[in-house]
């Protein structure tokens, strides 16, 4: 009887998508707990400006994982609708960040005062970023180019475009209020990027709840022909997901640039596209499109950050880090692959079936 229940629980667990990143998170936490419980210590300190700030490994995870989590939102939509991924998000962050700085600093890259309100600069960066998203989306949706190839264009050219926007200069924003978005807002001890990320999740949740975006995106991703016959415009919906990813890129760029109040075109958000795709995969979402689970993707992003921080904590050499990461990632991705999940579900069923005769006797 108990085994039967076990089988049932196993079945429910293995069927739920979010369990994969969740289990990974628990595993990582457990590992740290055993290796060094002090990993979880959080302290309240004062920073250089005399403001109270929380610090500790967990804080650093939710802080540094924010850009990735925000990108994972857009990447999930793009993956679901077009069955492919955007590999240009890192380069797009460079462009968007560059636009931000250009508007804030005007023509003088060492300007003492802001040449435009931050909100204006941010909105302009959003528009630019969404236009680049639309460019990617148009290539994918209307010209039927494979997403990875279509976005390879911007991936290749993006960082040069970013440098060109600022005449290859590296503007520095001196106004301290700009640095709030990537660090701490005075008086609030929680890192601002995490707050921004939370705001993004809430907005996404509201959008998915109060519009039909989720149904449309999944429908288009699963069966384009049926979607069209039911009055949807599959091309437009695909385009829309790329534009929305553009918006996520702009928000991530704001955080990235704000962290250091300047930009390094060749380094900013480097390789983040691969982590964003990984977050979607870790969330158990099929990279070939279709059904998606947004929360699982976001959790996946934080799992990646958790892993990175853990490896740093154990003083893994920075050059060796990717290799360690790869090993863990292989494990997680294989476990979260739909075929493996199916097998696990089948195993659960088998467990239950085996128990039935035992019950009779």
């Amino acid at each position: 009887m108990q085994k039967n229940k076990l089988g049932q629980i196993w079945e429910v667990i293995s069927r739920n998508q979010i369990i994969i990143p969740f289990a990974a998170l628990l595993l990582l936490a457990l590992f740290n707990l055993i290796a060094d419980p002090s990993f979880f210590r959080i302290t309240l300190n004062e920073n250089a400006n005399g403001d109270p700030v929380l610090s500790g490994n967990l804080i650093s995870i939710i802080d540094s994982g924010s850009e990735l989590a925000i990108l994972a939102i857009g990447m999930t939509l793009v993956t679901a609708a077009s069955g492919g991924q955007d590999i240009s998000v890192g380069a797009a962050i460079a462009i968007s960040g560059s636009v931000l700085l250009r508007v804030l600093c005007g023509s003088d890259s060492r300007s003492e005062t802001l040449q435009a309100p931050i909100i204006v600069a941010f909105l302009i960066a959003c528009v630019v970023s969404m236009l680049f998203g639309a460019f990617n989306g148009a290539l994918v949706a209307y010209f039927k180019i494979q997403p990875m190839v279509a976005t390879l264009i911007l991936f290749t050219a993006g960082r040069s475009v970013a440098a060109w926007i600022n005449n290859n200069e590296l503007p520095i924003v001196k106004d301290p209020s700009f640095s709030y978005f990537g660090n701490y807002i005075p008086g609030i001890p929680v890192p601002a990027p995490f707050l921004i990320a939370i705001a993004c999740f809430v907005i996404t949740w509201l959008v998915l709840k109060f519009t039909t975006l989720g149904l449309y995106v999944q429908s288009v991703g699963i069966n384009e022909k049926t979607s069209r016959l039911n009055g949807l415009n599959p091309e437009f919906i695909k385009l829309l997901t790329y534009v929305l990813l553009g918006l996520c890129v702009a928000v991530a760029a704001l955080i990235k640039v704000s962290r250091i109040s300047t930009i390094n075109y060749s380094v900013v958000a480097k390789d983040i596209e691969m982590d964003a795709i990984l977050a979607v995969a870790l969330g158990g979402n099929a990279l070939s499109g279709g059904k998606f689970n947004m929360a699982a993707s976001v959790l996946g992003a934080y799992v990646i950050q958790f892993l990175t921080t853990t490896l740093y904590k154990f003083e893994v050499n920075a050059t060796a880090l990717p290799a360690y990461k790869a090993v863990v990632v292989i494990l997680l991705v294989v476990l979260s692959a739909p075929t493996v999940r199916e097998k696990l579900t089948a195993l659960g069923k088998k467990l239950r079936r085996n128990d039935l005769p035992a019950e009779k006797t």
Binding site: F210, Y216, K225, T226, L229, N230, G231, G290
Partner: protein, 507 residues
């Protein structure tokens, strides 16, 4: 084995789980003849061909091939090819980015033509001998579909085949291309090749074939000389209705009157990118009509044009007397038209989504992006239609892909009924589902019509249409060739009109 035959099949059986695809089928192909293999959907044509080409392995029966003393066993397409059986499929299975010559000689398991020059010369000689006007060095993709088809045939012929199977080679060709293909086929016949020709176009059968074998429901109906089987007979054999006992089927189907106000839908000169001859169509409130014709005759293309599912290339549409523009499904839906597509898997279901989401999809799209149907409401709708149509599903959250065909069809039907359409188009709603469900759907059609809905009903089974429709529009070779109402609604009349041709002969 007869002296003049190249291929004989005797007592072939093949079954798949739950289906007896072939039962005791005989087939004889003589040297130098073009032999049509006819039958409606599910008759067993493609199974027979697949048994011949080694895609499927027969359960029982013997296959004799000229030159072999014992019956042969065909386990794979490679073996079939070695035995001299070559197939050219509807979808061309060549490499479009290679040259014509390369396509002819690629993967032939010999290394005779390492020399490109020799290969090209040899290929050119072959093409010339068959009268195919194409350069051997040309890239295949740059040739027309007809030429590609002929290159595929040339490749087959050069592999010293004695049996050539052409599986619907003409379905994507225009008239002049078909003529060229037929010329090639006759030439090959002259050289002693036995050709099995599968097509849905009756005219083409009578133009080029010598004999006909008809299959129905996996069994052999008969083998006929072309001259001894008039078209009407052929159609009746394919559909399985003897001409004599057809007259009395007509029941109390609704009577049709052409009076009674403006039509709910009226289209004049409609045509689409799918190559339908422009047609006129109208339907009144509460009317049930249908398009009939053999498979591939263009009946689905007509309703797809009405719904805007294919690219509409012309025509004027009015609904309730007001002119409207319908060029895409969305516009059709806005005007209260619903369309249940023929190919459920490809065009109907959203496989991974739940039954509930599949049911609300069309209504949701109609309501708009910012008015999502709440979860509670969606479950309510879903349960309402699950009860109404008796859909067998574990729960509203079960993915539709895991339901049986008939239940999937009911879900799609529910999806459209939920939008409360004025005009409902059902394209083969009863295909591949059990008898009980078929009757349910027909009853439902009549009930909905009595409530004032206009319905166009398409079915391969003429009985079903005669039972439900008050007016039948007959399609042949992508043309609307006739309209039957009232007393004309009999099997005989339908078949005569489908077959056509006869009349011209008498004139």
């Amino acid at each position: 084995m007869r002296e003049d035959s190249v291929l004989e099949l005797r007592g072939i059986y093949k079954s798949f789980p739950g289906v007896k695809a072939l039962q005791n089928v005989d087939f004889t192909l003589r040297k130098g003849e073009i032999h049509a293999l006819m039958g409606e959907n599910g008759a067993g044509k493609s199974t027979l061909i697949k048994v011949l080409t080694g895609v499927h392995i027969k359960d029982e029966g013997n296959i004799w091939i000229k030159g072999h003393e014992r019956p042969v066993q065909i386990h794979s397409p490679q073996e079939a090819q070695k035995l001299g059986i070559s197939t050219v499929y509807q979808e061309i299975s060549l490499c479009p980015n290679l040259s014509v010559a390369e396509n002819i000689y690629i993967a032939r398991g010999d290394s005779r033509f390492v020399n490109w020059k020799t290969m090209n010369t040899k290929a050119q000689a072959l093409l010339d001998s068959l009268g195919i006007a194409v350069k051997a060095t040309q890239q295949l993709a740059s040739c027309s579909i007809a030429v590609q088809q002929m290159v595929a045939i040339a490749r087959a012929v050069d592999m010293e085949c004695s049996v050539l199977i052409l599986d619907e080679p003409t379905s994507s060709l225009d008239e002049s291309e078909v003529a060229k293909l037929f010329k090639l086929m006759r030439k090959l016949r002259g050289q002693g090749v036995g050709i099995i020709f599968v097509t849905h176009f009756l005219d083409q059968v009578y133009e080029v074939c010598d004999r006909i074998t008809v299959l129905r429901d996996g069994t052999l109906v008969g083998e006929y000389e072309i001259g001894s089987l008039p078209r009407v007979q052929l159609v009746s054999k394919m559909l399985g209705k003897e001409l004599d006992d057809m007259a009395d089927i007509k029941e109390s189907a609704p009577t049709y009157s052409d009076k009674g106000g403006t039509p709910v839908y009226e289209g004049i000169g409609l045509c689409s990118s799918e190559g339908i001859a422009p047609f006129n169509f109208r339907i009144r409130k509460g009317e049930v009509n249908g398009f009939t014709g053999l498979l591939g005759s263009g009946r689905s293309e007509c309703v797809r044009t009405i719904f805007g599912a294919d690219k509409v290339t012309g025509g004027a549409v009015s609904m309730d007397g007001r002119p409207v523009k319908i060029t895409c499904p969305r516009e059709a839906m806005k005007n209260g038209i619903a369309y249940l597509p023929e190919d459920r898997k490809r065009d109907g279901i959203v496989g991974d989504l739940s039954v509930k989401d599949n049911i609300i999809l069309a209504l949701q799209v109609k309501q708009g992006f910012f008015k999502p149907i709440s979860k509670a409401k969606a479950v309510e709708y879903a349960n309402e239609y699950i009860d109404l149509l008796d859909i067998k599903t574990a729960s509203v959250n079960t993915p539709i892909g895991s339901l049986s065909g008939g239940n999937q069809q009911k879900v799609i039907l529910a999806r459209w009924l939920l939008t409360h359409p004025k005009y409902l188009i059902l394209d083969e709603p009863t295909r591949g589902i059990d008898v009980g469900t078929k009757v349910d759907i027909q009853k439902l059609v009549l009930k909905l019509a009595s409530q004032g809905m206009s319905i166009t009903f398409i079915s391969s089974e003429t009985d079903e249409m005669l039972r439900t429709c008050s007016r039948l529009l007959v399609m042949r070779d992508r043309k609307l060739v006739g309209e039957l109402t009232g007393d004309q609604l009999t099997q005989t009349a339908v078949m005569n009109t489908i077959a056509g041709g006869e009349k011209h002969a008498e004139e």
